[in-house]
Amino acid sequence: MKFGILVNEGPFQHQASDSAYLFTKAALEKGHEIYRVFFYYDGVNNANKLSEPQADDRDLVKLWSALAEEHKVDLVVCVAAALRRGIKDDILAPGFRISGLGQLIESGIVADRQITFGD
């Protein structure tokens, strides 16, 4: 199955990003396709390479980057949501790209299932 993923929450405030990451990883390992992971609202903070969690904490920014590297997952950060939160190209972690909300709508059109993680 072809999944589109939407992440609506930041990586430290809320479990949604962890759930989205674990779902994405599990789906890929089961042989499903992830058409795109789209980051919206505070979810754009998942792409901030300046974030430095404590050593004994999971580091979702790095985990997403590793997933993108290994599985060529398309990680897209909403430009409007990103700019108001100070997320710009020069602080973008590897594997992420900034683009428009149209990328989310396209994901909904192309994917068999579009899944939202967040409140």
Partner: protein, 130 residues
């Protein structure tokens, strides 16, 4: 950066539903949801917008937001018609629980019971909630 369709229209038109469940201010969910609705309309999809729970407050007339330093974005709902977003629904139970009627709202809406809304949701292909 926006993607545009090359053809005269979209190849696929899906039934998209946007479910607004949160109050207009206090969190950013409502405002950024509205931005999402406007983009879907540009992609010429079959857009349905639902207001339920505290989301019905987004449509309340006479919002006065100066005191909290926020922009009153409720006039944008009146502009949705210009984007061909005309399918607006409000859950009856949510409206009544808050002592509101359709006369309190900034735009014309279809009021649906929880049961009828469920049936409409079942028909959707993509549902985005916040």
């Amino acid at each position: 950066m926006e993607e545009e369709w090359d053809e005269d229209g979209p190849e696929v038109v899906k039934r998209f539903m946007y479910v607004n469940r949160k109050a207009p201010y206090g969190t950013v969910y409502a405002l950024e949801m509205l931005e999402k609705v406007l983009i879907a309309a540009a992609f010429e999809q079959d857009v349905h917008v639902v207001f339920m729970d505290d989301g019905v407050y987004q449509l309340k007339k006479e919002q006065e937001t100066k005191g909290i330093n926020m922009k009153n974005f409720s006039p944008t709902f009146r502009a949705l018609e210009g984007y061909d977003v005309e399918k607006l629904y409000v859950e009856k139970e949510s409206l009544e629980a808050r002592g509101l009627t359709v006369d309190d709202l900034v735009v014309p809406v279809e009021v649906l019971s929880s049961q009828d809304l469920k049936a409409l949701m079942d028909k959707q292909e993509v549902i985005l909630t916040a």
